[in-house]
């Protein structure tokens, strides 16, 4: 497929460490380390991985909130985005702190248009449009964020992201602060918007149920590196990377009865200040052999399923 929406090539975010003797020592924290991937138009890519694996950092770079320190990122919109409209928008996990409590909903959502110099009348029409798209009544426009529940606020955040007519929305754990009964509604809303507007999501999540539901492809990060990148159907049916498998095994599921102990991934994610040599996962990997601690595995397609890529010397 040609002309992807997003192309990331060997992208890194290495953060110089401050503190006693650290800066001068040149120690860098590898938050994201040589990640390469592309996203097609309309495609939803889920980013999964344990806390500290670099998901948000990568998402911020995609959303233009943060600069990479190496590699490149290219976004090719399918249409012109004039007047400061951005093809990429972001929504955050916490629907409470994301909205300015002193502004009305109309002003919050219309803010990007105000910055483009649109007058109040034009803005109002568009605000009502996006409110409707996220299933909120027009009256909401004149109210303040604290008058809404968590789920409603997340709808408002989505409305604010939609108003600039983006092609890609970076969603950083948009559901994890919400109750289950509200999660499913926002999830349905997000898939609706995706279907109707052809929007792509760069969807950061640690909930595999949610990922299964929304993602077309899945990227698995560990210590800033891409471990596996594959279509959702394939990665859920046959995870190729031992880390992906471990993550999926750890997900609690209804219908298995009481858990059997002892099949869990041991230990914790090591510090990105001093990542393990070779394959960064080798310190916790049940399949590790000698080569794993010396040679960094490349992200390569599986022979049997070429759309599925994994960085492992002993991939399945």
């Amino acid at each position: 497929m040609s002309n992807p929406l997003l192309e990331i090539d060997r992208l890194s975010v290495h953060i110089p460490m401050r503190g006693k003797g650290l800066l001068s020592s040149g120690i860098k924290l590898r938050a994201v380390d040589e990640v390469s991937l592309t996203m097609q138009r309309g495609e939803t890519l889920a980013i999964v991985g344990e806390s500290g694996s670099g998901k948000s950092t990568l998402g911020y770079v995609v959303a233009g909130l943060r600069q990479q320190t190496g590699g490149s990122l290219k976004i090719t919109p399918s249409r012109p985005h004039q007047n400061g409209r951005k093809p990429v928008q972001i929504i955050f996990q916490d629907p409470f702190s994301a909205l300015d409590p002193r502004m009305t909903v109309e002003d919050i959502i219309g803010e990007p248009l105000r910055l483009m110099g649109q007058d109040r009348g034009t803005r109002r029409g568009r605000v009502l449009e996006v409110l409707e798209q996220v299933g909120m009544p027009a009256e909401a426009a004149q109210r303040y964020p604290h008058q809404f529940s968590g789920g409603q606020r997340q709808r408002l955040a989505i409305a604010r992201a939609l108003i600039g007519d983006p092609e890609l929305i970076v969603a950083d754990e948009p559901l994890s602060a919400l109750d289950v009964s509200i999660q499913s509604k926002i999830l349905n809303l997000m898939s609706d918007i995706k279907e109707r507007h052809g929007i792509s999501y760069f969807f950061i999540s640690h909930d595999f149920g949610v990922v299964r539901h929304l993602a077309d492809r899945v990227a698995v990060l560990y210590l800033g590196r891409l471990m596996e990148l594959a279509p959702a159907d394939e990665i859920f049916a046959n995870p190729a990377h031992p880390y992906t498998r471990a993550l999926m095994d750890a997900v609690p599921r209804i219908g298995r009865g009481r858990r059997k102990r002892g099949q869990v991934l041991k230990g914790e994610i090591p510090t990105p200040l001093n990542p393990p040599s070779g394959c960064v996962f080798h310190t916790r990997c049940p399949r590790a052999t000698a080569i794993c601690s010396t040679e960094r595995p490349l992200l390569l397609p599986l022979v049997s399923r070429p759309a599925q890529l994994a960085a492992c010397h002993h991939k399945e």
Binding site: E50, S51, S149, G151, D179, V180, S181, I182, Q183, S184, K185, L187, N188, S191, H206, D207, F208, G209, V210, V211, R212, H213, A232, F236, A246, L247, M248, D249, A250, V251, P252, R253, I254, G255, R256, G257, R258, R259, R261, G262, V264, L265, K266, E268
Partner: protein, 348 residues
């Protein structure tokens, strides 16, 4: 993980439950370790009225058993647990009976609560920092509990706290004992809090969303740890979560709460095989399944809000609701052995 909670150095076997092990817990007949009857917690509401955040709750937990308590945010899970520990904020009023080891805790004096907490029953939280002192090393905090409740010497208590940190799977425990809570990762802090809670081998562990803030991998480790400790000591566990999948892996019995009330209470297998209450069914159906993709997830309409109407608290969101549902609050009825439901349409 070499688990050994009976690394007693010079521990007098004086605590209420002896030196551990389910076999030691003497209970006449089928009296449960914990039996909660008509538990109600109320707070002052508008205009001098009182509003119940927990209403008429009934359940029991046997020694060595886990009860999972599930429900949406605000349904009263934490308040129920705080009531068991005598920790309801002073504005709150607790009524009903909390029978623990044959005694009704609801009439206890503050002094008795203090003596009981940490020794007979202990609680762990989602955010370990709420239970830990940020300016005291973790080893010292555990030692303090042992000194206070078990009368250990400072030196013995220090040794024992290292043993406990080892038992909950903290690597290089002797060194880690000298760390302050903020120096530990989230998962390690959770382990340290569990070590502190279990220092005196309580008969009941109340766990309030202890894995909610953790990665699935670390969550799995902590769930395993709780199972292991339970097998080892025979403690009863009340595990609170909004995540049905988590309790399905841990609990023997499940209590589903809605708006402060129990709406379904059943053995775990029964509840997941055949959920009866419309709310429970909704909760299970709305959970996106990692093993199966569906075009559109079912949803429970509306949201949890306090209802002033006299009927079933779920009526405003229930697709089966009819006029009879709005007439009176449906009582919990045992529709099959052990399976209790508070829904008129089910019990009819």
């Amino acid at each position: 993980m070499g688990l050994n909670l009976s690394i007693d150095t010079a521990v007098p076997a004086s605590s209420a439950f002896g030196s551990g092990g389910a076999a030691k817990v003497q209970r006449p007949g089928n009296q449960a370790l914990l039996e909660v009857r008509e538990l109600t917690v109320s707070f002052p509401g508008e205009g001098g009225s009182r509003s119940n955040v927990v209403s008429g709750l009934n359940y029991r937990i046997e020694a060595g058993e886990t009860l999972g308590v599930v429900g949406e945010s605000g349904c009263g899970k934490t308040m129920t647990s705080l009531a068991l520990m005598g920790l309801v904020p002073t504005a709150g009023n607790v009524s009903g009976q909390i029978m623990f080891g044959g005694r009704n805790l609801a009439d206890q004096k503050d002094r008795e609560w203090r003596r009981m907490r940490g020794r007979d029953a202990a609680m762990i939280f989602q955010e370990p920092m709420t239970a830990m002192n940020p300016v005291m090393t973790v080893g010292r905090q555990i030692a303090e509990v042992l000194i206070r409740h078990e009368g250990l010497s400072r030196r013995d208590a220090a040794d024992r706290s290292v043993g406990l940190l080892e038992a909950v799977g903290i690597p290089s425990a002797r060194r880690r004992a000298d760390d302050y809570p903020h120096q530990l990762s989230g998962g390690m802090r959770q382990r340290a809090m569990i070590a502190m809670a279990l220092a005196c081998k309580p008969r009941l562990l109340v766990a309030d969303e202890p894995t909610t803030a953790l990665d699935v991998t670390i969550q799995a480790q902590i769930l395993d740890l709780i199972l292991e400790l339970q097998e080892d000591t025979g403690m009863a566990v009340q595990f609170i979560t909004h995540n049905l999948a988590v309790v399905s892996e841990l609990a023997h019995h499940i209590l589903v709460m809605y708006a402060g009330r129990g709406v379904e209470y059943a053995p775990a297998e029964k509840l997941f095989e055949r959920p009866l209450h419309p709310y429970t069914r909704g909760l299970i159906a709305t959970l996106p399944d990692p093993d199966r993709k569906v075009a559109k997830l079912p949803v429970i309409p509306g949201g949890l809000r306090s209802s002033r109407s006299p009927g079933c608290p779920f009526a405003g969101r229930c697709s089966l609701a009819s006029d009879i549902c709005r007439a009176a609050i449906p009582p919990m009825i045992e529709v099959e052995p052990g399976h209790h439901v508070a829904c008129l349409k089910v019990s009819q």
